[in-house]
């Protein structure tokens, strides 16, 4: 029910401003983007798809920031492990 999938907007359907074709891993689907009418997505932007509607745009900057944070934690962890290993070599 909460199922939401990220998809890339490919194009709008001619004469149907509410409908857009999106791509998920090479699979194309027509969805309704009426819920984003305040700031319609452009082709190339990513949206969250839920029961045939785009609920929200995916903010690429925020996604990058989230991944950076995770990278950071990952790296710090690697460093700690390395430090731990080194400190055991006596």
């Amino acid at each position: 029910m909460c199922l939401g999938i990220p998809g890339e907007v490919i194009e709008f359907l001619p004469e149907q401003p509410d409908l857009a074709r999106v791509d998920v891993s090479g699979v194309r689907r027509v969805i309704n983007v009426g819920l984003l009418s305040d700031e319609p997505p452009e082709p190339g932007e990513w949206v969250l798809i839920h029961v045939g509607f785009a609920l929200s745009k995916i903010d690429e900057a925020e996604a990058a920031a989230a991944l950076e944070f995770l990278e950071g934690i990952g790296q710090a962890y690697e460093d700690e492990l390395a430090a731990l290993r080194d400190s055991q070599i006596e």
């Binding site: 029910m1 909460c2 009426g34 819920l35 305040d38 029961v51 609920l55």
Partner: protein, 380 residues
């Protein structure tokens, strides 16, 4: 898959596991509630609990919109489907939920025409393609899905479709969370907030939890790393004695929600004075119905619906599982009388139900990763 695979990276999970373990105070137990059924599903599907130390327990909440539908409403839906020339349409999750006389697919075996759809728009398409039939869409879901139902009704009106209506069972999340907070049975340390509901309602509605009840809230995404990171953020808040609302899912959730979606809901629907939630009883202002201006799309007005209140079977402990008081395996009938093939309650039927998730995926002895066992590997 972009925006999916990166958030399923096992390596980063180990790092987060170490951090989480490092934030655990010795001797203290932590109970974090994940409200949303989608989170319950992800947690079990990816084996996320393997990354958590024993002192951190995830409690499953009532955010499964299928689970909270009382048996009487299922009976009502089947009654609607049994009316002449009716095609009932519903999301797949509802097809096996038991009413007093079987579920939707049992009703189909007796002659109803209940079709599975993936979107309310599919239901509208069926209505257009079958002008001699009356098509009813069983609308379920929290605020995540209500906008889609609303948009479909608006579209139906704009296109002059006369044979389409909605049997509205949308519920709202805040009253459910409040019922949990006010419940004497539970002592929770924090909440993993529902990610997709929040794309619609934003993060502000949860502020009362942090400021009024002093519990931290982190709105979380649905990939396993999202949830693990949210748990880390909650543990950090607890460690630093903060109680705030934070947004881990910022790539999708805008702080102020989606005004267009809220407007669509407001235009077509209004709050019912009260609504019965399976297991939680009657909660006021917790569910939606069609507004008078859209009465011609309201199946409850177009058809006579019995509306009989049906008590849950005596053996059913769904209520306590939904409130997080009982873990699925602690229910007396879990796995014996109540199984996915022979469900007694909704928690075992819905793909997002805690019991279904545990039975189908989690019925295993935990195999925790080293970081979650050996606290020496971690440092706050």
């Amino acid at each position: 898959m972009r925006f999916v695979d990166e958030f399923r990276d096992a390596e980063k999970a180990h790092a987060l596991a170490a951090r989480i373990a490092g934030l655990c105070e010795p001797g203290r137990q932590y109970k974090l509630m994940e409200v949303c059924g989608g989170h319950t599903h992800t947690i079990y599907k990816h084996g996320l609990e393997d990354y958590l130390p024993e002192s951190v327990t995830l409690v499953h909440g009532p955010g499964c919109p299928v689970c909270v539908i009382p048996m009487g409403r299922v009976d009502d839906a089947i009654h609607l489907a049994s009316e002449p020339d009716v095609i009932m349409t519903s999301f797949g999750d509802m097809m096996r939920v038991p009413g007093s006389n079987g579920a939707f697919f049992d009703a189909n075996a007796r002659g109803t025409n209940i079709k599975m759809v993936y979107s309310p728009l599919d239901s509208l398409k069926i209505a257009k393609a079958n002008p001699d039939k009356r098509v009813v869409f069983m609308a379920i879901g929290f605020e995540t899905t209500a906008p889609s139902t609303a948009m479909t009704v608006l579209r139906a009106r704009a296109q002059g479709i006369k044979n389409f209506s909605v049997f509205c069972n949308h519920v709202t999340i805040i009253p459910a969370i409040k019922a949990i907070l006010d419940s004497p049975d539970l002592r929770l340390d924090g909440f993993i907030g529902p990610g997709h509901v929040s794309t619609v309602i934003g993060c502000r509605p949860y502020e009362f939890i942090a400021s009024g009840y002093g519990k931290p809230v982190v709105v979380a995404g649905f990939e396993p790393l999202d949830i693990l990171q949210s748990i880390y953020m909650l543990m950090l808040q607890l460690h630093e004695d903060r109680s705030e609302v934070e947004n881990q899912y910022a790539r999708v959730v805008p702080w102020n929600g989606n005004p267009v979606a809220l407007k669509a809901i407001g235009e077509t629907m209004e709050l019912r004075p009260y609504f019965e939630w399976r297991g939680l009883g009657f909660i006021s202002h917790s569910a939606l119905k069609m507004r008078e201006a859209y009465a011609d799309f309201d199946a409850e007005l177009l058809f006579a619906v019995p509306g009989v209140r049906v008590a849950d079977p005596k053996a059913c402990q769904c209520g306590e599982v939904l409130k997080g008081v009982l873990k699925p395996w602690e229910c007396k009938v879990f796995g014996t009388a109540c199984t996915p093939e022979t469900p007694i309650g909704t928690c075992m039927v819905s793909p997002e139900g805690a019991c279904a998730a545990y039975y189908n995926y989690g019925r295993l002895t935990r195999q925790r990763v080293p970081e979650a066992i050996s606290i020496e590997l971690s440092r706050p």
